[in-house]
């Protein structure tokens, strides 16, 4: 295998906007970095009462001149623009925390959000953190079933949502959520609300406008983010307030945030990126965040970049590929001169997009890598360093990464509790990280065994297969398991299979990701029909609609095929890897455990 990357390295001949990046000498920055020093960049709660994310993100910027700076600028779907200064955000989040307190919601209680990108989302997230309750954001494109599962696993006591989302996503499953006590409604319409319903605006108007954050231990639970595995139900990864140390540090190193920046993170706050980098990290730097309520639309996005004067942009490969497809003329019609740094996350960034950025946006795109469990960016191409297009980048200061030799199942081989680090460049292995960074997850809710299984030989095992080159740059190869990445979202095949199998016509389903030029992968389901059902187009559409209504468009399959002979192991498990190999016309590999009619 050739180790020479096919695309030439992009060298930085100048610093866009004349701003010197925060990290220019990578080796020196790594050598000088300690998490203890990074922690000192934060204030801590007054009086030595601990460390609270919301204090670092909001309250410490809320007084004096900085308090009058715009913290968040919301571009509403209607075309209106709402802004909120740091001082105003501090007051609104104080009120929200008081609302929670008045409901008897306290430390460690789970507060879920199911909201679009509206101002109340930031207020609810940060107000919940102030109250030392735990925030769990849900993606509004989830259907009722994913919403129910996550609320049940996370033991949600409070849900913040809109009447419309409640009606569509929650009402059908509310009977199965006995622990959900309070539903705080945004934009309540006065119509008879759900059980435990409360109009948020009314409640906030009567709540006191000041709130003192209680003592917060850095190890107190703060954020709960759900992610998907190959098997079983979604996993709730729990993060603590100390994670803000990593949010802040990586905002500086990986996103190159500088004082006065206008920052736009396009990820929905229902996902870990949208919360960590759409809410917390930029606010800890005191910059202005742009939030667009609308859905992706090429012309609108260019207008946002230009008119809002975005200087740092964190987005996703799918969106960038859609912009590429829309053609350079659309970009040329907008003034993108304020744009200084562009980064991407969610799925591997193909080199064509990196150089397209250089040509069309005026700056190249920097790939970054992390996952729900890591809580913050771990590996990145940096603003002040070369880019190797197609590479994930190098471990950030404070992060130790390794490539581990793999065993038969595709994951890192563990013998007597030990693993083997691959030193030779070009050899594929499982990416592993040395625990100790502050935003590492502290557990999967209700799944201690799953958490324990995520570590071996003193490493956190990521489930991603990578290789490294001679200079330590990491190159993504694929997932070691069956998890699907579509438009930057991780999708667990089991969740999709279970939903399809709830249909009377389906006895079995195998779900895989198939390559897609825009979304990276799209979800494809192979279903085996029960006797008496014919594989008609009408049934296929019925299944498609059935899955979409339960799972929502973000998780549901886009393609459904009938297959009465799904490949399975002798123990009866469906071999998704073989389904995928067949679909892609790849070699089918070791079939020794396979049991399939010839």
């Amino acid at each position: 295998m050739s180790l020479t990357p096919p695309w030439p390295t992009i060298r930085k001949a100048r610093w866009p906007g004349g701003v010197t990046p925060n990290v220019v000498d990578y080796d020196a920055a790594r050598a000088a970095f300690t998490w203890e020093a990074a922690r000192r960049d934060l204030d801590g709660l007054p009086g030595g009462r601990g460390l609270n994310m919301a204090h670092e993100a909001v309250d410490r910027h809320a007084t004096g001149l900085h308090g009058e700076r715009v913290a968040v600028c919301w571009l509403r779907r209607s075309g209106e623009v709402d802004t909120c200064t740091y001082r105003e955000l501090a007051e609104a989040t104080d009120r929200f925390a008081n609302v929670l307190r008045s409901l008897g919601v306290g430390r460690g209680d789970a507060v879920f959000t199911l909201l679009g990108r509206v101002p109340e989302l930031h207020v609810a997230v940060l107000g919940t953190l102030k109250n030392t309750s735990v925030v769990c954001p849900l993606f509004p494109a989830f259907g009722p079933e994913p919403v129910r599962q996550r609320l049940a696993i996370g033991d949600g006591r409070v849900l913040v949502t809109t009447p419309d989302l409640y009606r569509r996503r929650v009402a059908p499953v509310r009977h199965a959520l006995p622990r959900l006590e309070h539903v705080l409604l945004v934009g309540g319409d006065g119509v008879a609300g759900p059980e435990g319903g409360l109009d948020l605006a009314e409640a906030m108007a009567t709540a006191p406008g000041t709130f003192t954050i209680p003592p917060t231990d850095p190890e107190d639970a703060a954020l709960l983010h759900f992610t998907s595995g190959s098997t079983g139900t979604p996993k709730g990864a729990l993060h603590v307030h100390d994670a803000v140390v990593a949010h802040h540090a990586t905002g500086r190193t990986a996103l190159d945030l500088h004082d006065g920046d206008v920052f736009w993170c396009t990820a929905d706050p229902g996902w870990v990126t949208g919360l960590s980098y759409g809410v917390i990290a930029p606010l800890t730097h005191g910059v202005t965040c742009v939030v667009d309520e609308g859905e992706f639309e090429a012309q609108r996005w260019y207008r946002v970049l230009g008119e809002a004067g975005v200087s740092v942009w964190y987005t996703a490969p799918t969106a960038l590929r859609l912009l590429m497809r829309a053609g350079p003329d659309l970009a040329a019609a907008h003034d993108l001169s304020t744009l200084r740094f562009v980064a991407s996350v969610g799925e591997p960034l193909n080199p064509e997009v990196v150089s397209w950025g250089q040509d069309v946006l005026g700056v190249p795109v920097h790939d970054t890598w992390w996952q729900t469990e890591t809580g913050a960016i771990m590996i990145a191409n940096l603003a002040g360093c070369d880019i190797r297009p197609g590479s994930m980048g190098r471990p950030l200061p404070g992060v130790e990464a390794a490539v581990l030799a793999r065993g038969a199942a595709g994951r890192a081989a563990v013998r007597h509790g030990r693993v083997r680090v691959v030193d030779r460049p070009g050899v594929e292995g499982e990416l592993a990280l040395r625990p100790g960074w502050p935003s590492m997850f502290r557990g999967y809710v209700g799944d201690d065994a799953g958490y324990a299984a995520s570590f071996a030989g003193g490493w956190y095992l990521t489930g991603d297969v990578v290789r490294h080159d001679e200079d330590g740059w990491l190159w993504f190869v694929g997932r070691a398991d069956d998890v699907i990445t579509s438009a930057g979202h991780l999708i667990g095949p089991f969740e999709v299979e279970s939903a399809l199998m709830a249909h009377e016509a389906v006895v079995e389903a195998g779900v895989i990701g198939v390559p897609d030029p825009v979304a990276g992968e799209v979800v494809k389901a192979f279903v085996t029909l029960a006797p008496g059902h014919e594989p008609t187009d009408d049934l296929r559409l019925d299944l498609l609609g059935f899955a979409r209504a339960r799972l929502g468009p973000a998780v549901a399959p886009r393609l459904i095929a009938f297959d009465q002979h799904l490949p399975r192991t002798r123990s009866g498990k469906i071999l998704r890897r073989l389904l995928k190999a067949r679909e892609l016309g790849l070699p089918e590999g070791d079939l020794s455990t396979l049991d399939v009619p010839p």
């Binding site: 779907r77 639309e297 012309q299 979304a519 799209v522 559409l541 498609l544 609609g545 209504a549 468009p553």
Partner: protein
Amino acid sequence: MNPVEARALLARLLRRIAPEVDLATIDPAAPLQEAADLDSMDFLNLVAAVYEDTGIDIPERDYPSIASVDGFVARLAADQSPSASGPRSAEA
């Protein structure tokens, strides 16, 4: 294409992309993506299906104009593009 045909086209294409949607229950003035629970990929698939079915190529800059049922119907009913029904007749 008249407005009745345009609405029938939308119903037919939605059935392929999001069969669970009942066009009759959708507020024709509301944002279609939100009202019908379509994500960005669904919306792009809809635009692609319009082209495959009718030959009408809706450029990116016109996407906002078809963002509601009313908008979609008006845009397609007004379409004068000479390529209309192109791919179909090419196949025929």
